[in-house]
Amino acid sequence: MNIVVCVKHVPDATADRRFESDNTVDRVGVDGLLSELDEYAVEQALQIKEKSDNPEETKVTALCVGPEKAVDAVRKALQMGADEGILVSDEAIAGSDYVATSLVLAKAISKAGEERAVDLVICGMASTDAAGSVVPAMLAEQLNLPQVTFASVVETQGDQVRVKRDGDTATEVIGGTMPLVLSVTDQTGEARYPSFKGIMAAKKKPLETWSLSDLGVDAGDVGLSVAWTQVEDTTERPPRSAGEIVKDEDGSGATALTEFLASKKFI
């Protein structure tokens, strides 16, 4: 089986995330890391490999589109256990919207499958910066593949994929036949930490960097200037003004709470 996991390098959510003057996300000045939600995708890829009939024959490739330093996200995936890594990096890609990002990812997946067709593309449920949850569906559309998304439990058997997903109105079981695009949620189970052995082994694993010309993508089709959506303005939310905090002593907390709710007409 040939599996590609899409891993995004994102600004650390616990750092002060911000925008550049051109309203694109500051991806350089803020510390970045492998999106936590994509760790679950790497974990599921590794589990599918480990549970498959012949794990040695199954290849897991971590794929990332991002600036040079995004290679850290690919490295982390290799340390966790992915076999190969690909970073697609090109100045022209900076500021791309979902459509362009999904185009570049799709072209890279096609190239990764030139010698051996890709059976499974695995994504996280959302990136922790853009949080659109749309790239997997767009990839499926670009690659003309079925999508089986937002899985909380994943099972594969041969070329069959079955997942459970919790929807707003129902819990569903969804099935599809490979090749397909799968996305997994943080309910699929904790992702493993890289072991010392894994970290050492990762240094010897193949890691390639591709540019747009390697993919045959025209630089004029991606990037900020041609984005089909444009961010016109970004504003930092004003800090909330400090509220009133009371200490509960002998039941005074409940009374104060009730008084507050009544004063705001919630009762």
Partner: protein
């Protein structure tokens, strides 16, 4: 005036509230045309419902052939309708399904897409959206610059506006490719109604975290006294104390109620992502240094197991 397509969000023909919010937004942008994809026997009921909220036209698409498949067929339906009607915009609710339909549609129509709008206004250059990003720390204004603006809108982005539209029903027969019918819903179990308001629609949300120790009774009692929905942190969900559908935060629901009460929740960034835009925030936590207190309008440092039941009793007394 151009049409604005609104995809009706419904469960077996019962139209969900976010659809009415989308219709209110559609009125700002053009002439609202609702699109119903569902059972032929449910179409007239749904059409009646959206007419009351201003739908001028209702396209009904019989889903017999595509029921049970994932989003791809719905994207094809909308593509064909968009090609026929050249709409000024396409509005879809920001559910997982809605966003995926929008994603596929954007590629098909070669159009820009904006997800999770919390407001949409019209301007000379087309719709301008507002989004709340980076865990609610920033607000962003954006516009689609190519193709038909495809916008997914969060619940509560607008108030539903009652007022009759023409509601002219037109059956639309779409052609669905075989490729679109490849991922299948094998089994489906409808969610049981809790009897409480829907989390994303509720005016008041009362949430519990690890600090409940697994006992949600004080949370539920307090919620019921206020007529509120019940929510939870991921820690409470991961411990198996509440279903995942109750989770609020980055990987759960985003809520933006008039009042949010966090109990035994520390206020991690991923939790904030789902509640930071609430109008009034209240917390009960026994640790006076819990980060949640940075957000509150009112906070009680105390044990939720004593504070909440006592407050519940007082509220119920006041209500008489």
């Amino acid at each position: 005036m151009s049409e604005v397509l609104v995809l009706i969000d419904h469960v077996d023909g019962a139209v969900r509230k976010p659809t009415y919010e989308l219709l209110a937004i559609a009125k700002r942008l053009g002439e609202p045309s609702a699109v119903f994809i569902g059972g032929a026997d449910q179409a007239s009921g749904a059409a009646e419902a959206v007419k009351k909220y201003g739908a001028e036209k209702v396209y009904t698409v019989d889903d017999t052939e595509i029921k049970g498949y994932l989003v791809a067929p719905k994207a094809e339906v909308l593509q064909q309708l968009a090609e026929k009607t050249s709409p000024a915009a396409i509005l879809i609710s920001s559910s997982f399904e809605g966003k995926e339909i929008a994603g596929r549609l954007a590629i098909k129509l070669k159009s820009g897409i904006i997800t999770d709008a919390v407001d949409v206004q019209s301007s000379e250059g087309g719709p301008v959206t507002t989004q709340s990003v980076f865990a609610g720390n920033f607000t962003v204004q954006a516009k689609v610059t190519k193709g038909t603006p495809i916008i997914t809108v969060k619940p509560n982005a607008a108030a539903p506006e009652e007022g009759d539209g023409a509601g002219a029903v037109e059956e639309f027969a779409a052609t669905i490719s075989d490729a679109a019918k490849s991922a299948k819903i094998v089994a489906s179990q409808p969610r049981q109604a809790s009897g409480r308001p829907e989390l994303t629609e509720a005016a008041i949300v009362v949430a519990g975290g690890r600090g409940t120790g697994g006992n949600f009774e004080p949370i539920e009692g307090f919620a019921d006294a206020l007529g509120a929905a019940v929510g939870a942190s991921r820690a409470a969900v991961d411990s198996g104390w509440t279903p995942h559908t109750f989770q609020i935060g980055q990987t759960g629901k985003t809520v933006s109620p008039q009042l949010y009460v966090a109990n035994g929740i520390s206020g991690a960034i991923q939790h904030r992502a789902g509640m930071q835009t609430s109008k009034t925030i209240v917390a009960v936590n026994k640790d006076d240094e819990a980060p949640i207190f940075e957000l509150v309008d009112f906070g009680v440092v105390g044990d939720l197991h004593t504070v909440l039941p006592a407050a519940t009793e007082q509220i119920n007394k006041r209500k008489g």
